[in-house]
């Protein structure tokens, strides 16, 4: 079966971002960008499904600026067969991205779509669920285990109190949690081979999708800084401070 994997180019998870002086957004000029960590897990899961003989083709898709081709090439080096970039320079909302993915799903007709559970920049945790709603498919969010048998997929999900397993009819949407797998690294020969794999570039207009939004970011600020703390010398001093100064125990 065909598996579609959605990936996002985001600021690298090790970068401590700074808010721009004009409070319009965070400063991403000259900052290291990478594939969103949850998306790496999504690619890995698709590749493992292919290695097991379950998946026959992996198509990786991203919505973003032309530079997102780098992340698509990374996914190709990890084992995806071909890539689609829906090019959009502006920052789109999760709903707009889900609509674009829906158009790609209609075109490609995959049996399974894997996304990360959230992007570490917007921290929205919406796109997979929205894509599931728009396509009318079942959704297995925050997946820590995915097992396909016949025309269903069993997804074990990380929920607040532990784990829950649901069974979904295929085609279905899965979003990955951290513990689904350990993503592999791309080898140099595979990085070279990935340069020759097909990468198609589309636009929202070509897909006939309006990316208009009902949300507007008015301002972006730095969070309130915590006042500097102190170092205590002993456990006894710590207990004394907690009891008499902070009064929390």
């Amino acid at each position: 079966m065909k598996v579609l994997v959605a990936i996002k180019r985001v600021v690298d998870y090790n970068v401590k971002v700074r808010v721009k002086a004009d409070h319009s957004s965070v400063d991403l000029a000259n900052v290291k960008m990478s594939m969103n960590p949850f998306c790496e897990i999504a690619v890995e899961e698709a590749v493992r499904l292919k290695e097991k003989g379950v998946a026959t083709e992996i198509v990786v898709v991203s919505v973003g600026p032309s530079t997102a081709q780098e992340q698509l090439r990374t996914a190709l080096a990890l084992g995806a067969d071909r890539a689609i970039l829906v090019e959009s320079a502006e920052d789109l909302t999760s709903l707009a991205v889900a609509k674009l993915f829906k158009a790609v799903v209609d075109k490609e007709q995959p049996q399974l779509v894997i996304l990360g559970k959230q992007a570490i920049d917007s921290d929205n945790n919406q796109t997979g669920q929205m894509l599931a709603a728009l396509s009318g498919y079942g959704q297995g969010t925050f997946a820590s285990k995915v097992e396909i048998s016949g025309d269903t997929v069993a997804v074990t999900r990380e929920v607040d109190g532990g784990a829950q397993t649901v069974s979904l009819k295929l085609p279905a949407i899965v979003t990955t949690d951290l513990r689904l797998n350990e993503p592999r690294y791309a080898s140099l020969p595979n990085i070279m081979k990935a340069k020759k794999k097909p990468l198609e570039v589309l636009t929202p207009d070509a897909l006939g999708v309006s990316t208009a939004s009902t949300n507007k970011t008015v301002k972006v600020e730095a969070p309130a800084a915590r006042s500097a703390g102190i170092k205590v010398k002993s456990v006894a001093e710590l207990v004394e401070k907690l009891k008499n100064e902070a009064k929390v125990i």
């Binding site: 570490i120 929205n124 969070p223 929390v248």
Partner: protein, 309 residues
């Protein structure tokens, strides 16, 4: 304006996060209705009717809603919610699972994990693992929002006297089914609601050593959490993880033991009132956010702390 709050529950008990969500609704202003979708959830509806500030409770009791499957619950919420000005749910795993599906069905953008209400259409929410706070305005006819519980003090669970109305709408999409669940058992307070949280990281070295933290937690009436490193190493189960990808906590006191303080961990606990760090590495980033830092071997400090508190 009338606001629909989706109740968080397990068919038996109304979860505390619902009270924080109602508090957010009260800040927006207007009538507050609560939807209880479940199976055999009459007691939850009665509890919701007593919550201060709630004017009506809608009870949708149907086998299709028993396990909060989003394929079935989202169409119900979208159908009922279309007439409301706002639809709110707690940013729990259920809220996060169901609400974006509702928003897409209503063709509106969602605002995730708000931490404050600026006005009826403007809200603040953290982005980039809490390293920036965005103010977001919505022009949507129905504003679909998840609420970070730690951003709002809960309303009183008693004092209200709302009427309970039964909703007959039954949506069963027939594309998903519940197979089973494995819930972690714990006698300690729930992590996200605890007043004190004691968390361990990679420095704990193994799962057995968490007994030192459990002993301290029991003495303090605290919940026990963990960093991703401790979870990945298999010391403790996933649902104990505090951080950007785990639970967000904001207790009165957070004690971080053997935790270096990566950005992703800080995202889950830096709104705690008082933060204590115990770490033998005095350069550990956790000391930059700690109110009280103790540079010491945790295997000596934690047992001593347990004796003294």
């Amino acid at each position: 304006m009338t606001i629909l709050v989706i109740a968080e529950h397990d068919n038996k008990v109304l979860a505390p996060a619902t009270l924080n969500t109602v508090a957010a609704a009260a800040k927006i202003g207007g009538d507050i209705h609560v939807l209880v979708a479940g199976q055999g959830a009459g007691a939850v509806a009665e509890a919701a009717a007593k919550v201060a500030g709630v004017s009506k409770v809608l009870l949708a009791d149907n086998a299709a809603y028993a396990h909060q499957l989003p394929e079935n619950v989202a169409p119900l919420v979208a159908e009922l919610g279309a007439g409301y000005s706002h639809i709110l749910a707690a940013a729990t795993s259920n809220g996060k699972n169901i609400l974006p599906r509702v928003a897409a069905q209503l063709d509106v953008d969602q605002i995730s994990e708000i931490i404050s209400v600026e006005s009826a259409d403007t809200f603040k929410r953290p982005i980039y693992a809490g390293n920036a706070i965005a103010t977001v305005q919505s022009t949507a006819a129905v504003k679909v929002i998840t609420v970070r519980a730690t951003g709002f003090d809960p309303v009183a669970a008693e004092g209200g006297s709302a009427a309970v109305e039964t909703v007959s709408a039954a949506h069963d999409a027939g594309i998903s089914s519940f197979v089973g669940e494995e819930l972690a058992k714990s006698d300690r307070p729930e992590l996200t609601a605890a007043k004190i949280v004691v968390s361990g990281g990679r420095g704990m070295q193994n799962g057995d050593n968490f007994k030192h933290l459990y002993a301290l937690a029991d003495k303090l009436g605290a919940a026990v959490g963990a960093s991703r490193a401790a979870v990945d190493a298999g010391f403790v189960p996933n649902d104990m993880q505090v951080g950007q990808t785990g639970k967000i906590v904001a207790p009165q006191l957070y004690i971080a033991v053997g935790i270096s303080g990566a950005i992703q961990h800080l995202a889950g606990m830096k709104d705690s009132k008082v933060i204590v760090a115990i770490n033998k590495d005095e350069e550990a980033p956790i000391f930059q956010v700690a109110d009280y830092g103790l540079v010491a071997d945790l295997f000596e400090a934690v047992p001593e702390l347990e004796k003294l508190v």
